[in-house]
């Protein structure tokens, strides 16, 4: 594969990362408030103790110095100390990544599977009741905010029917595989229902485009059964846009469920974002924003490079 293509993509990704770092730095320095002051609001703390804390947070240096210190620290994996828990931000974040990956990852996979099958069926039987129904459903689910779907599911299945737990990731004192699974059902369903419409629409339109191709007529003329024409000839040629969408959505796995996690008190990164907003806990927000953005930059880079490998037309200028 073309090395220059890979280097160019890596270069572009690094530039994006620097942009995010600069944005992250500038935005949070725009805040006029004094974090040390607000940390001890109403409490009697000596000026000396405050100054020591300011020095500890690095708030007493000049802006360029602070930026260089920030980039250096970040490169070493040091994201600062959380204002609210006084623990390193990186530790706080690390403990919350897996619940989010479990929730949004399962929802992403589930929605892609449902969406692909619905899209294939809709395109294959175009203008059938199923086609019109699934297109309508896709538009409808697009119009519902994911967290609102979560509220509706929560009210109906957890509070009214009392079939499923009302929030959190495991029962207090309990836990275990089945217990977590039960807690996962509702938030995962809310996300999967909001996501699947995209896949349905993309799969459907991509398959419809392929349907007019000559090689499908050839396949039929050879006497292949309908199901074989679809499975062997039509779908493999139409699936690429869906894979692109899936790869792009993987970048959003970490940041995709901020509001839904809030609704279900799911102990992940979204919940952490919401908690950090209350302070506001700026180092935590900064760390989360950096993580969310770099996740997307990294997945985009990997997708681009893999594409260049799979399809040489992409990587040769």
């Amino acid at each position: 594969m073309n090395t220059r293509y890979v280097l160019r993509r890596v270069g572009a990704a690094s530039l994006s990362l620097i942009f995010v770092l600069a944005l992250n730095f500038v935005l949070f320095r725009m805040v006029k408030s004094d974090p040390v002051g607000s940390l001890f609001r109403g409490r009697n703390v000596s000026q000396g103790a405050k100054d020591r804390l300011r020095a500890e947070f690095g708030l007493d240096k000049s802006m360029p110095e602070q930026f260089i210190a920030y980039v250096k620290q970040t490169a070493q994996g040091n994201l600062g100390i959380s204002y609210s828990t006084r623990q390193p931000v990186s530790d706080e974040i690390a403990s919350k990544i897996w619940p989010t990956v479990l929730l949004v990852g399962s929802a992403t996979i589930l929605s892609a599977i449902i969406g692909v099958f619905a899209g294939i069926r809709a395109a294959w039987r175009r203008n059938s009741a199923f086609d019109r129904g699934s297109t309508g459903a896709s538009m409808f689910t697009y119009a519902i905010p994911d967290f609102y779907l979560g509220i509706l599911l929560l009210a109906f299945f957890a509070f009214w029917l009392a079939w499923l737990p009302t929030g959190g990731m495991e029962t207090a004192g309990g836990g275990g595989f089945v217990d977590t699974g039960k807690h996962l059902i509702l938030p995962c369903a809310a996300l999967a229902i909001s996501y699947f419409g995209e896949y349905t629409i993309i799969m459907r339109s991509s398959l419809l485009e392929v349907l007019g191709e000559d090689y499908l007529i050839t396949a039929r003329a050879k006497g292949l059964r309908d199901a074989l024409v679809r499975k062997r000839h039509a779908v493999p040629n139409a699936i690429l846009p869906v894979i692109t969408l899936f790869a792009l959505n993987l970048g959003f796995v970490l940041s995709g469920a901020i509001a839904v996690e809030t609704v279900f008190s799911w102990p992940g990164l979204g919940q952490a974002t919401q908690d950090a907003l209350k302070g506001p806990d700026y180092p935590m927000l900064q760390g989360l924003f950096l993580l969310f953005s770099s996740a997307i930059i990294l997945t985009n880079l990997v997708t681009d490079v893999v594409y260049g490998y799979l399809d040489p037309r992409v990587s040769t200028p």
Partner: protein, 324 residues
Amino acid sequence: MTDPTGGAFESARDSALAEVMAPDPPAPGSRRSLNWSRRRKSAGEVWREFWASGQGKAGLIILVVFVAMALLAPLITSSEGLKVTNALGNKQNAPPSWEFPFGTDNDGRSVLTLFVWGARISLFVGIAATLVAIFIGSFVGIIAGYAGGRTEGVLMRVTEWFLVIPFLPLAIVLASVLSRSLSTIILVIGITSWPGTARLLRAQVLSVKERTFVERARALGAGHGRIVGRHVLPSVLPLVFANLTLTVPIAILSETTLAFLGLGDPLRVSWGQTLGASFAAGATSIGAWWYYLPPGLGIVAVVLAFTLCGRALEEVLNPNLRQR
């Protein structure tokens, strides 16, 4: 459908058509009226096709109902009902009744009042934020497409950066460092949703600027400002408009999420803010469905209506889509 000629055929055809169809220079003064009548005629055609499509008609009717409700809010219920202090005597969390058709919230306020006045803020923020986004997007897209070269490279790189940054986290960060007000929310949604428009317009301007009528204007000595203002802008305007109807629902959904997370203007009632308040007050757990259903269904209806209109308009303006 990928075009192997990279659109060369289309632009060749368009320029040929433009040459054939270019009228003989009419007497000065009549040219502008000719232009206007031509534009009016084509707008009429677009409208007829739009109205003939079922989804366009349905979307527009829903929209008119909601916009009318938002505009006539003071005639439907008094804004005094939004004040918690005026609702002290009312029963809290009461189910729908004759006095309160949508029930009351946990402060005893009528949910109908919250719904009607919330529509105003939700629609206003959605439309205003879209205008901000469309303005930035058109500005960047048209300049990049028209100027080309290094300017284009830099502008498109910046656009790419904004596309890469996840929308909601950036909006949360911006809303948390700025003061919480209506204009902050509008600005935040505006500056996080322009890149799509910029890319779309750049592509369109790239094809428009190669057409013969632009070349003719340049040959006649028109400056850049005049070419962009009189020739490029009018021909990309329909696209901007179609883009507008598809951006408003996204902006409304964004406002809802931000307001739900508590980043909206705390003094203004919007649908998202009502949803957040109902959730915080535990309406879900006590079964107060009348509290969280109206604002949510309002959002769904308005977003659906805008999407229907946008799709219908897109189909009318872009015949390639009609086959799907």
